[in-house]
Symmetry: C2
Subunit: 449 residues, 2 copies
């Protein structure tokens, strides 16, 4: 069923492009799904990809263009004229078309929109690019099936067939009043089974979930998941139905969010992929490593300050990587759980409760790990006072790391900052430094150097 794009196949295509054999290419790719065409485009260089885009039907290429990576699309669009771009846009759903236009340079945007034959589409695009791309307005498409509550079922079926031509998938039929204000919805099933002469106002379901153009994407994803919706209507500030968001756009949104959070936790910015250029990957990774480096240099300073303990208690210095690692690990665990909890809306209850829970949890972990270390030191024959100093420090460091890991994301979230930035190197580095500092102060207090 699935097509496997082999490197031999790509070579064959490259050869046909070099020979400018459009006829053979068209035949070869005739039955291909747009998603497969997209995979092929990603394997070609920009000039070859552009050749294919110009060659194949825009019905297919417009969808394939939406599937390829942003940077691949950017390079292809750079090589197309405003008119050629406009032709591709005409085949796209309005939300995709608006996304593509939004990616163009501003001076090109105007030229492309002017070249769109379909005035309604041009107006839709201008409207859609005016919204914040992460809001419901920026996510929605204008395509939907809309009927007035005053119509009959028979009239509605007629009208629906007309409208459905522009809508790839009919999820729900939205019912509005004379002024376009959203009143309810109607399922295709209800429409099929209702008597032909009935009025829509008698058969529609007045309960309908909706969002406004200003609702944030995350909230849209949450509502659609919670209520298991496959599409949700979008209204403007006056309650007028202006668009709809379908679950497939939300799937992409959820995936992008999850990948971003994951990368942040790993200390990578900018949403890079394994196949990006070394330059892009460096730009995404190096800043976080520099942050970690400064943390390490901070640790050097702290230890220099306690240099006088070196002669008598060298073992303390051997333990610093362990203390730093545990502080980092505990901090990452605590922050990851909170960041996920905040995203899923399960962080409830008072801050005091959360504090007490984290305290209890880190006490258990800290005592267990502290005892393990003391046991280990007893086995390798270290003096008890040093073991105690290390064990107690470890306990305190773990508690501190858990508290910092828990509350930094909560505080960021309350201030409207994405808490995910607190999961990665940020929390590890600050916990490393705090951990080593606490370790030496407690050891000093216990051992008296």
């Amino acid at each position: 069923m699935q097509i496997q794009i082999t490197s031999e196949f790509i070579q064959q295509i490259e050869q046909l492009i070099a020979q400018q054999d459009g006829h053979a290419l068209k035949q070869l790719l005739a039955d291909f799904h747009f998603a497969d065409i997209a995979e092929i485009l990603e394997e070609l260089n920009s000039d070859q990809a552009t050749y294919l885009i110009k060659l194949l039907e825009s019905e297919i290429t417009s969808e394939a263009l939406m599937e390829v990576d942003d940077d691949v699309r950017e390079k292809i669009l750079d090589r197309l004229s405003p008119k050629e771009i406009a032709v591709e846009l005409s085949e796209m759903d309005t939300d995709d078309a608006a996304d593509v236009v939004a990616e163009l340079d501003e001076d090109i945007q105007q030229k492309v929109i002017e070249k769109i034959d379909d005035e309604e589409l041009a107006a839709d695009i201008v409207e859609l690019i005016s919204y914040d791309e992460k809001s419901a307005g920026g996510l929605m498409a204008k395509e939907l099936v809309q009927v007035k509550e005053t119509w009959t079922v028979a009239g509605c079926v007629r009208e629906m067939r007309r409208q459905a031509k522009n809508v790839t998938r009919v999820h729900s039929i939205y019912v509005t009043n004379r002024d376009g204000i959203l009143k309810g919805r109607l399922s295709l099933k209800d429409l099929l089974t209702a008597p032909e002469k009935a009025h829509i106002s008698d058969v529609y379901i007045p309960k309908v979930d909706y969002v406004t153009v200003h609702t944030e994407g995350e909230e849209v994803a949450r509502v659609m998941q919670k209520y298991d919706l496959e599409a949700i209507p979008v209204v403007d500030d006056n309650g007028v139905l202006v668009g709809r968001i379908t679950i497939d756009d939300i799937v992409d949104f959820i995936k992008d969010e999850a990948e971003r959070d994951y990368q942040m936790a790993a200390g990578i910015s900018q949403g890079v992929e394994a196949d990006d250029s070394i330059f892009r990957l460096t730009r995404a990774r190096l800043p976080w490593l520099v942050l970690g480096l400064f943390g390490g240099l901070g640790a050097v300073f702290i230890m220099q300050d306690f240099e006088e303990a070196l002669e008598k208690y060298a073992i303390l210095f051997f333990y610093t990587p362990l203390i730093a690692a545990m502080a980092g690990n505990v901090g990452v665990q605590s922050s990851a759980i909170i960041v996920q909890g905040l995203a899923n809306d399960v962080v409830k209850g008072s801050l005091l409760n959360r504090f007490l829970k984290e305290l209890g949890l880190s006490l258990i972990n800290g005592v267990a790990l502290g005892l393990l270390v003391i046991l280990f030191n007893a086995v390798i024959g270290k003096p008890l006072d040093v073991s105690l100093a290390i064990g107690i420090s470890l306990l305190v460091v773990i508690i501190m790391a858990a508290i910092i890991g828990t509350f930094v994301p909560i505080i960021l979230d309350k201030r409207g900052i994405d808490p995910a930035i607190a999961t990665g190197p940020f929390i590890t580095t600050s916990n490393d430094i705090f951990g080593i500092l606490i370790f030496f102060y407690i050891s000093k207090a216990i051992l008296g150097f």
Copy 2:
């Protein structure tokens, strides 16, 4: 639009339950969406929740039961009789019903299935629980609209109306031959616009994506996303249509996968949530911390071995947390990029290319960070030979960490092990130890202690 469940509201409900005022409760919750009922159930204790489940219509409670956390559901089901569970199951989609039955103890399973009035449902459940829960068979539902290729459009609409009663959402109509073998699909739109007397064989689309009952969930998710499918039919080994998977189930699957990967990277196992008990959270976190502890103890041993350098080159020991942190950070970055790449199928090309790329990337990062360290040491007045030893070690450690971080997940993946386990404490801890080891050996070679 959205209902906010306040703690005052929960108190009101708890009071009504205490007074056993079923009438008032029914009235209060009459217009509630099942997802909101689910939220309420999660706030109540198990006895209160069970009271509500028994009180409200099973049409609502069956859906609410599917929305609550696994452990909440388990406690409620423990308090219901096999007959009461069977009644809830009768209102569920087959895939949900099978999931619930699979969660029950084996001796209860049989009793519950016997109490289901609808024989077809009982048979469907028995079939569905026989599949691996992470395979397409385990994810699919039996509800679908199926027509034979020999029927007319008019007959098909009649039959479809009948079948549609059991299917909450009609995504696609699947066309089979006399033996039930999947032949193609038909959109509702096509059916609406085709002449009534036409045969299905004349109007259906013979191209249809499908998976078999054995296809892995991840692969199903990948195919549905790639081809933007809202539902996909599932066939058995003979090509007979046996079920379908809808995108909303896949959304949950994708989210669960992403959360698991995220938690693994943070060193948390078992898919816990912020609101879980301290015991569960400890069980998910402590093992990873113990792993980190052993890594730290390994570092203690290594440094003890180099104790003779302490007098002359104490600064080296101050640098160990920095070396360990950088090794850990680079390793996590590299592994996270590869794990995501493997999941998204973008890791292409030969292993040699991947190796050269990672080498180039880590060379750039390593040289930049190494120079920063040498500069820093010059500023604080450290001797150049020591600075060089540290800088060069850092470069080598970064290269090694990047290579390990890249290839451990690739090797795991090739052996059929989930590469995500290599992102978290596992890679950090092993890189910490290797990093410190390399650091001291290189320093020894350069400084000659």
